[in-house]
């Protein structure tokens, strides 16, 4: 009995009980589909966080002003501008392996161009800020040291602002008004998309720190030297944690905080934070994959159950086949193939279903479904292994039947 003969006999037996075969395969279908969908969406989410991390710029530390404290009421981080541009300069000059620093002041601004207006966030920052935080230029140029030194009225805008304010016009060289001050657009940035927190990062305008503080945001009115945050880009020669420790020591010294006193600033490493998020996401998708794996096992047990029933039902048929000259091997092969066909067809349908679910979920969650050919093969392999493992025992029972006992059975 050739392999093709066994295959045909197995197919025939499955067709004879079509409803039962489909229900049996359903367990594997669900297992494989959830495995594929989980892995695809999980990988997609992880991949997106990875791009977010690289979008933040690598090796970035953000020093923010501490919270205000008055009469026991504490404000949020940065609510007091304890940091100054001198702190920034000191970080650059005193700490090893710091590549660049820039002060940062954030505010809100009303933009007007021709008869259109748009409200957005204004970030006033040093010349190195955009490069350090991973922004790429789409057209025009970035802010440079001259813009900052001269407090030039120039701005680099994000894609959303370009779209909302300039529509189809080329914004480069156009004059817009920010809080009624005329500012020239010198650059448009490439899109970064949503941040992890769901904010549209492209809805932003970047101006020189000096320009922002003095002319646009009015922050300089209180303390001309103050900044809300200092963005530090570390070099590659030292670990970011060492730089972070140095920054803490330096700023404490500069702010004359006695030992044991509370910092009036905070140093954050967003990339680290996001990495932690990625880790938790990985754990989550691993867990879900495990659950999917368990349902695959349950599907396998379903196959085993039905195959045992089938062997019992077809005992006479097996007896007859043995009487006509079937070897144990031929009977074993036929029943293993039946189980394998069940699990493999279930696997194939499951892969198709899983990919569909994955793509729909990814579409809804605005993710990129990331499923490799290897993963699909792995799922198919799992399904096949399930069929083999759970199909072997019933098949052996069938093959072990004594011809005369099988023939006599009703």
């Amino acid at each position: 009995m050739s392999f093709a003969d066994s295959l045909l006999a197995a197919l025939d037996a499955l067709r004879a009980n079509l409803m039962r075969s489909m229900l049996t395969a359903l367990g594997v279908i669900i297992g494989v589909a959830s495995l594929i969908a989980m892995l695809g969406v999980g990988n997609g989410a992880t991949a997106r966080i990875d791009t977010l991390i690289s979008g933040l710029g690598s090796n970035i530390l953000t020093v923010t002003g501490g919270s205000s404290q008055g009469g026991g009421v504490r404000g949020g981080a940065g609510s007091v501008s304890t940091l100054t541009e001198d702190d920034a300069k000191a970080i650059l000059s005193d700490i090893d392996a710091v590549e660049s620093v820039s002060g940062l002041v954030n505010g809100q601004g009303q933009l007007v161009y021709a008869d259109t207006n748009w409200s957005t966030s204004i970030s006033a920052a040093g010349a190195d800020y955009l490069g350090a935080t991973g922004w790429l230029l789409a057209s025009g140029r970035l802010l440079d040291a001259h813009d900052v030194k001269g407090a030039r009225k120039v701005a680099v805008i994000g894609q959303t602002v370009a779209r909302e304010l300039f529509a189809s016009e080329d914004p480069i060289g156009k004059m817009m008004r920010i809080n009624r001050v005329p500012v020239e657009v010198i650059g448009v940035l490439q899109s970064k998309g949503q941040s992890t927190f769901g904010r549209d990062q492209d809805d932003a305008v970047f101006v020189p720190l000096s320009t922002g503080k003095r002319r646009l945001l009015g922050a300089g009115a209180i303390n001309a030297d103050a900044v809300q945050a200092i963005v530090v880009k570390g070099g590659t020669t030292r670990g970011l944690d060492l730089i972070e420790a140095d920054i803490r020591t330096l700023i404490r010294e500069r702010h004359r905080i006695p030992p044991g006193g509370t910092d009036d600033f905070d140093v954050r490493n967003f990339a680290q934070f996001l990495t932690a998020r990625t880790d938790s996401l990985r754990i989550m998708s691993t867990l879900l994959a495990v659950v999917a794996g368990i349902s695959l096992i349950v599907g396998g047990i379903g196959i085993m159950n039905i195959m045992l029933v089938s062997v019992t039902e077809r005992t006479r048929e097996i007896g007859l086949r043995l009487a006509l000259g079937a070897t144990k091997g031929a009977v074993l092969q036929q029943f293993v193939l039946e189980a394998l066909l069940l699990s493999l067809s279930g696997g194939a349908i499951g892969i198709a279903l899983g990919l569909t679910i994955g793509f729909v979920v990814a579409e809804l969650a605005d993710l990129q479904m990331a499923i490799g050919f290897g993963t699909v093969l792995l799922a198919a392999g799992f399904a096949a292994a399930t069929g083999l493992f759970f199909g072997y025992y019933p098949a052996r029972r069938a093959a072990a039947l004594k011809p005369i006992e099988a023939l006599r059975r009703d």
Binding site: L320, L322, A323, G325
Partner: protein, 232 residues
């Protein structure tokens, strides 16, 4: 030359605590080309003997030589080969696969015999033609009469050109007219030189055979040539 030779063949079943001696020390010889009826009341051991002769069951004692070969020395695969090549079975209840057509049923032994796919259908059709069922090759067992089904079963038993045809109450499930057709078929096969052993408790069936072996309580009580049939 003897096709079948048993030496003190015995079969004991364990029924709970009790050992049942279904067959006790049976020694007999059947030559090539013989037509033998095995008779006896139920429980006499005649079916047990048939199962042993067909290599469907293994003896608890004694020897069984088939076609010059000691069957006890054969492993499972060799036994399967003997059942496939040397022996053809005809059962009382036909034992056809209900899902398969007459042709497919007849092709089963060819498949297990490793006959190439392309040769199976012609050989199976030839076997069906021999039993006069060429027209019904595509019919399923449920679409055929009892007699037709038994002829399909005979075609299946013959398709591998066996040396020995074993029939267990071949007419037991048929009305007498149809039974006669089947018996005529067996007569013809015997005339062509096939060795036939038929188990029955119907004297009319046994009367067709050339030799009758009677069983009681697991032993042979008589073994006589059937003079009437021999004359015919």
């Amino acid at each position: 030359m003897s096709l079948i030779r048993t030496v003190l063949l015995g079969k004991t079943y364990q029924l709970g605590e009790q050992a049942v001696h279904a067959l006790k020390s049976v020694s007999l010889e059947i030559n090539s080309g013989e037509y033998v009826a095995i008779m006896g009341p139920s429980g006499s051991g005649k079916s047990t003997l048939l199962n042993l002769l067909g290599c469907l069951d293994s003896p608890s004692a004694g020897e069984y030589w088939l076609n010059g070969q000691d069957v006890a020395q054969l492993d499972g695969n060799a036994l399967a080969r003997v059942r496939n090549q040397t022996i053809g079975f005809v059962f009382q209840s036909f034992n056809l696969l209900p899902r398969a057509s007459a042709l497919e049923n007849v092709m089963l032994p060819l498949m297990y015999g490793g006959v190439a796919r392309a040769q199976r259908a012609p050989r199976a059709l030839a076997a069906l033609a021999k039993v006069g069922l060429s027209e019904r090759a595509k019919h399923h067992p449920s679409q055929l009469s009892g007699g037709q089904n038994q002829r399909v079963a005979i075609a299946r038993a013959l398709v591998n050109t066996p040396k020995l045809l074993l029939a267990d109450e071949p007419t037991g499930a048929l009305d007498s007219n149809t039974g006669l057709e089947i018996l005529a078929q067996l007569d013809q096969l015997h005339a062509e030189g096939l060795t036939i052993v038929v188990v029955t408790h119907d004297e009319a069936v046994a009367a067709r055979a050339k030799r009758t072996i009677r069983f009681r309580d697991g032993t042979v009580v008589s073994d006589q040539p059937n003079l009437q049939a021999q004359a015919a």
